[in-house]
Subunit: 319 residues, 2 copies
């Protein structure tokens, strides 16, 4: 059993959501200009967003690189050079760039190297519309949309909810020691969404496949976070899993320190205390009528910010 | 029992959502410029959006009006004149304007006069942050955010859903004869959200209060529709109501022609045939795992467009 921190701060729920959706909206023109971003473009489609520090490092790399250089850097956009024109070539060009930046310690974001490849979409001739794949830790440098899964495991007794809350391991590169959804993880380029949730439930919470497979999809949350690592537009597919009281999630890999089974009121107290990773639980609490529109003044604003529209393309597949 | 139309078209679900969220987004600069709208401003806050035809009619009204005229019309904004500075005075100024337009048949939108007052928010010194109230039929002329409630009544047997679908009366001023949520209606300025859903359930579906009060809130959908009546940014609070099989909604007022209890597959067929009012049912189908992300290619795009962020202010109240 791990120790519980006593909550102290008291944020509004909208404040919490704003911590995860903190990149300005297109209509916030003054705020957005301060970021001075440059879009990463592929065939007229915006697939990422680069901060000035990344543009500068990309320029240096291009200059040192033997000709022809792999990237085209213009005043108002960055794109791949004409010879870097396939999924494989783009993936290779990005890999070489990142190896160089990693060796030269150009960006602290790359210290959290994961050895996990994430898809970046936008090329209809690539597999499932993928333009390239990229090391997970590097995604904030390119401001590309990343995809993940969230699972809320809960116990319902006589209409009364308790939620299985994970405490993130203190060694995690992002949000160490924070409270989290029961299971959360990225979607690697080679797994379906449902397979991703089952795999993560097994790895993070030691839930067997025959239990995890009963997870039901219930929507997605989308938001755009700015952190010290860079720009992180994210989409998290949301799953619910009602668990029998005798099924107890247990840490399995090193991602989670421990699990708590908490009443809703305790979950909300800890959310308001700022102890949860800020992208957690609110969508569940709204869908399950725990946060209600007659009681929560920021109901609509919370929903907007949990469903931010990203312009970036996603996967294509046959329905 | 009323007759069923046989479905013929076959739209994708995203096409349907785009019919209800068809006003361009801020980043779609070319499309948005074509509308050439002017914001209605109150104390630096945008509370509405006016088309050129409305600006022109407002200019004529101002010129004919005895001095001092109630509206200030500038190149880049419209606002109330300094002497029209309270909730009551704005409400009166709008009422007089609409009476004039109605008499002169300036806008066909006003033919559907409802005698229902809708709130427009944005004045912290007004009741619940209201700037004024306005006749419902006139809201599209001012592009003000309107609020409504949606209720999906359903029967669940062994994990299998059936939905109570309303067929709108052929005499309704908007979407006559279309299929609809079980219960839907606007939120008048003097009712809470929960009271609105109970009232509408009683009036439209003859559901008694002791049943309707078990409706549970599960979120909201928000979108921005352009119609021949004007500009309609909307927010609909979403409620679910599981009904026993022996509770049968029945038309009570003249809003609904009849109700059907349909299997999900039949509901989806009729949605794809374009027979539903396009703001219906998709949110329910996503939350209840009927539309799933591994099967629906436009899953995220559908969610974005059902949760469009409106800049316009909403009500204020103590939580």
């Amino acid at each position: 059993m791990c120790s519980e921190k006593k909550e102290s701060s008291n944020f509004g729920l909208l404040d919490i959501v704003k911590q995860c959706d903190n990149f300005p909206y297109p209509e916030e023109t003054v705020e957005i200009q301060k970021f001075n971003t440059t879009p990463l473009i592929l065939n007229d489609t915006k697939i990422g967003l680069l901060l000035p520090s990344v543009i500068q490092a990309l320029r240096s790399y291009n200059e040192k690189h033997e000709s022809p250089s792999p990237f085209v850097i213009k005043e108002d956009l960055v794109t791949f050079s004409p010879h870097v024109n396939t999924f494989e070539k783009r993936t290779k060009a990005i890999e070489q760039l990142l190896n160089s930046w990693r060796t030269e310690k150009t960006f602290s974001a790359l210290k959290g190297w994961r050895d996990e490849l994430y898809p970046v979409y936008g090329d209809p001739s690539g597999p499932s519309n993928m333009a390239f794949v990229i090391e997970r830790a590097a995604t904030p440098l390119f401001g590309v949309l990343t995809f993940g899964v969230h699972l809320t495991g809960f116990v319902k007794t006589k209409g009364h909810y308790r939620i299985w809350v994970a405490k993130r391991s203190k060694t995690k590169p992002t949000w160490p020691g924070y409270l989290d959804n029961t299971v959360a993880g990225g979607i690697p380029y080679n797994l379906s969404i449902t397979e991703s949730i089952i795999k993560e439930a097994m790895e993070e919470a030691n839930l067997p496949r025959e239990i995890a497979k009963d997870s039901v999809p219930a929507g997605a949350i989308t938001y755009f976070t700015v952190t010290e690592r860079g720009l992180q537009p994210e989409a998290q597919y949301i799953y619910d899993l009602e668990l029998p009281i005798d099924v107890v999630p247990k840490p399995f890999d090193d991602e989670v320190e421990c699990f708590y089974l908490w009443d809703i009121s305790k979950v909300i107290d800890h959310i308001k205390a700022g102890e949860f990773k800020p992208n957690c639980a609110l969508d569940f609490l709204i869908r399950h009528s725990i946060i209600t529109p007659d009681k929560e003044p920021a109901y609509l604003d919370i929903l907007y910010r949990l469903h931010r529209r990203h312009e970036f393309p996603g996967p294509s597949f046959q329905s």
